[in-house]
């Protein structure tokens, strides 16, 4: 998948957004500048971004308020704060509400770039379902909600293909010619901790299979028709956990 990230940079200081934007462009990303929370919201409404990097203290809407609103509409869009004020109460609140991380100003650019690279890797929600329509509709929803999505409707695809860009796999249990559990087994062979959400329309029928899946550490089992708000929350939480782990490693 593309290592290029569409990054929304928000800061009332234009010099900050310009310099950052230039750096990020030079390093292969696709930055877009905004100088206010309102402008940022407007841009995010019409364009898809992979992440947002916003200053905290801005006139009008501050960075945490911006995140709050963004998270409502696009829970799959990771938001990072940058700030000159390291130990602000506002920041703590932001982190509680789901801001992924905080970068101190002056920014350690190499650190930031390294982080974006990690972010770029394996950021997709991979939907594995032979029901193309299901894939499409779900994908559209998730995409609209800020997630990166990859659809795989051929269940016999290489596991590598499925897992290469995946941060989470949504795996249908009843696939054409192969059981979801078996696919899960294959995944698990290579990636014991990759979160896999089993999906099925057949609650009663698949009980045994579900048990089997759970026993090989399927994250959970979801039933069609999916409860979208719950799903969004689960995915958002998983993404947050993963990203925070990445930050910590650095």
């Amino acid at each position: 998948m593309d290592q290029k990230l569409r990054i929304l940079i928000v800061d009332d200081d234009q010099r900050m957004t310009h310099t950052l934007s230039d750096i990020l462009s030079m390093t292969g990303h696709m930055p877009v500048e905004a100088n206010s929370g309102a402008q940022a919201l407007e841009l995010a409404r019409t364009q898809a971004f992979d992440c947002v990097l916003t200053d905290v203290r801005m006139p009008g809407m501050n960075g945490v308020e911006l995140h709050r609103q963004l998270h409502q509409s696009q829970p799959g869009l990771p938001v990072f704060l940058m700030t000159a004020y390291a130990a602000d109460e506002i920041i703590r609140k932001g982190l509680e509400e789901g801001v992924v991380g905080v970068f101190d100003k002056p920014l350690d650019i190499s650190n930031l770039l390294g982080f974006f690279t990690s972010l770029a890797n394996q950021r997709s929600i991979v939907i594995v379902d032979d029901d193309k329509d299901f894939c499409k509709t779900l994908s559209d929803i998730l995409h609209q909600r800020g997630f990166s999505v990859l659809q795989i409707s051929d269940p016999h695809s290489d596991v590598e293909l499925m897992t290469a860009e995946a941060q989470v796999i949504m795996l249908d249990m009843k696939l054409d010619g192969i059981s979801g559990v078996d696919v899960l087994k294959q995944i698990r062979q290579r990636y014991p901790v990759l979160p896999v959400l089993m999906v099925t329309a057949y609650r009663q029928e698949m009980t045994a299979a579900i048990q089997a899946a759970l026993s090989i550490h399927a994250f959970t089992c979801l039933y069609k028709p999916l409860e979208i708000p719950a799903l969004l929350e689960t995915l958002s939480d998983l993404q947050l956990k993963r990203l925070r782990k990445v930050i910590k490693k650095r």
């Binding site: 310099t19 950052l20 230039d22 030079m26 390093t27 940058m82 000159a84 100003k105 650019i109």
Partner: protein, 551 residues
């Protein structure tokens, strides 16, 4: 003439002479007797008149009764006036018929007694006048014999004044007796004449024991001339007021007393003695002494407290100033970070887009980058000091922390690092970031201490060791640098104290704050010329659920 005839004539003459003599004598007697009678009558008249005058003019009431019947035969004007009753209503009546003598039955009984004893005396008899006024009289009755019958003369004396005087006296006595103070009367020779209950309480002698004794028995031997002085003054008619002295009680205790002495004058105005009022002021004196002590102590205390207050006030002002400065520093620091951020971005960009720039340009870019970093460090120090970062404590391995420090704060080439970190050392319970920052500060100081004034590094040794001391781990950073002069040792951890030309002087202050926030302390030791040693104490990590220490 013959003899018988002579004798016969002689006897007749003698007989006539005798008769004549007798007649003369008898005549004399008669005359004498009648003269005596006249004289007697005259005397009687005079006596009677005299008596009458006394009777009439007496300022006591006199009542004459018939001894047999008890009937009033005479009453003098004074009694009439005293009783407010007409004479006619009194005379002729029996004594107990009279209203004034209310207690009739008693009177009758007494009358009998009177008849027997011929004398009766009432010291205090209540009488009521005609208009109802009650008063008391002394009633003395005597039985006289007058012309063959007995007469009772009753003397009635109004004792109201006497009673009043007695009452007043009783009151005065009561006042004296009830007084808490000792009231002692003495003669001009110093002998005790009166002794009230208060004196008994104060000195312990009873009245019987005291009266008649010399008052000098109360005066301690170390005041030999006091009594004579007092008595001399009294003799001159002078008073002594509130004279503080010491007296002895019966059981030998010394009593602090305040005495007032005044002369007593007799009826003729002569000074006949002295009256002393003595008050036990032992308690008061004790209180006074205590008060003095307290007063002195108070003064010292007040001085101390004032100093403490002043110190506290100064400290408060300093803290206020610090707080204001802190806020200011905080705002300024934060604000500075924004432009620094932009500069840092710009440098990064330039470095990134000019990989082929000449060495000078690259150098300059490097310089800008360094200076930006330095500026940021200054701000960080300032902000760290003015605000405590949140502390996230966790078990941390000391060896790991030391190595992280050395990695982040790179060792100059001229410095040799010696490590003494026991592998079995338990972890500390602290925020790793904080510990690394503090150790970094200490090693940086060590590097700088071992450099020459112009910052050219000198060969030096830095020794990093750790050991467990009870519940704490001690991490020691020792260098072979210039050392710290003794006068600076006390100020080391004070903010804004620095001996370096660069730097704001917050490093150690921040380090101390951070370590303290992590439950530890920092100590410093130094020998000028030899080197300095800084020891960081941090608590050992104990697993809460059981007492096992995790490795």
């Amino acid at each position: 003439m013959n003899l018988p005839t002579i004798l016969y004539f002689a006897s007749i003459v003698l007989t006539f002479a005798l008769i004549g003599f007798l007649a003369w004598y008898w005549r004399q007697q008669v005359v004498r007797s009648s003269r005596a009678q006249v004289a007697a009558a005259q005397a009687l008249l005079i006596s009677e008149t005299r008596y009458r005058r006394l009777f009439e003019a007496a300022r006591d009431g006199i009542l004459i009764l018939d001894a047999e019947s008890g009937v009033v035969t005479d009453v003098n004007p004074f009694l009439v006036e005293m009783l407010g009753f007409p004479r006619a209503g009194i005379v002729g009546k029996e004594l107990w018929e009279l209203d004034f003598f209310k207690d009739i039955a008693a009177n009758k009984a007494n009358f009998l007694e009177l008849q027997q004893k011929e004398y009766i005396r009432y010291e205090d008899l209540p009488l009521e006048t005609a208009d109802g006024r009650r008063f008391h009289v002394e009633f003395v009755s005597n039985v006289y014999q007058v012309d063959h019958h007995k007469v009772v003369q009753c003397n009635v004396r109004d004792i109201s004044e006497r009673k009043l005087a007695e009452a007043k006296l009783a009151q005065l006595v009561a006042i004296v007796e009830s007084s808490d103070d000792a009231i002692i009367g003495k003669t001009l020779d110093g002998l005790i004449t009166s002794w009230n209950a208060g004196a008994g309480r104060l000195y312990g002698y009873s009245a019987a024991e005291a009266i008649g004794k010399p008052v000098s028995m109360l005066i301690p031997e170390d005041r030999p001339n006091e009594l004579s002085g007092i008595l001399a003054k009294v003799k001159r008619g002078e008073r002594i007021d509130h004279y503080e002295s010491v007296r002895l009680s019966k059981d030998g205790r010394r009593l602090d007393v305040s005495i007032s002495v005044s002369p007593i004058k007799d009826a003729s105005g002569q000074i006949s003695g002295a009256s002393t009022i003595a008050r036990d002021i032992t308690e008061r004196k004790r209180a006074e002494r205590s008060l003095q002590e307290y007063s002195l102590r108070l003064e010292t205390d007040v001085a101390e407290r004032t100093q403490e207050l002043r110190d506290a006030h100064e400290k408060m002002i300093r803290q206020e100033r610090l707080a204001t400065l802190g806020q200011l520093a905080g705002s300024v620091g934060h604000e500075l970070r924004n432009p620094l951020g932009v500069i840092s971005n710009a440098v990064y960009y330039l470095k990134m887009t000019q990989p082929d720039a000449n060495a000078t340009i690259r150098d300059y870019l490097g310089i800008i980058e360094n200076e930006t970093r330095t500026s940021d460090k200054i701000i960080t120090d300032l902000l760290d000091f003015t605000r405590i970062k949140s502390v996230d404590r966790e078990p941390a391995d000391v060896s790991y922390l030391v190595h992280q420090t050395l990695k982040r704060y790179s060792v100059p080439d001229s410095v040799e690092v010696m490590l003494d970190l026991p592998p079995d050392l338990p972890p500390v319970y602290a925020d790793p970031g904080h510990v690394v920052q503090v150790l970094g500060n200490l090693v940086t100081n060590a590097y700088q201490a071992m450099a020459l004034p112009n910052e050219t590094p000198q060969p030096g040794k830095i020794n990093l060791s750790a050991c467990q001391q009870g519940d704490m781990i001690a991490i020691t950073v020792q260098d072979t640098g210039t050392g710290i002069p003794p006068e600076n040792m006390g100020k080391l951890f004070e903010p804004l104290f620095t001996t370096k030309t660069k730097g704001i002087g917050l490093g150690l202050a921040v380090s101390q704050r951070l370590i303290e926030a992590n439950g530890g302390t920092i100590e410093a030791r130094s020998e000028p010329g030899k080197g300095s040693t800084f020891i960081v104490y941090l608590p050992v990590y104990h697993l809460q659920s059981n007492s096992q220490i995790i490795e």
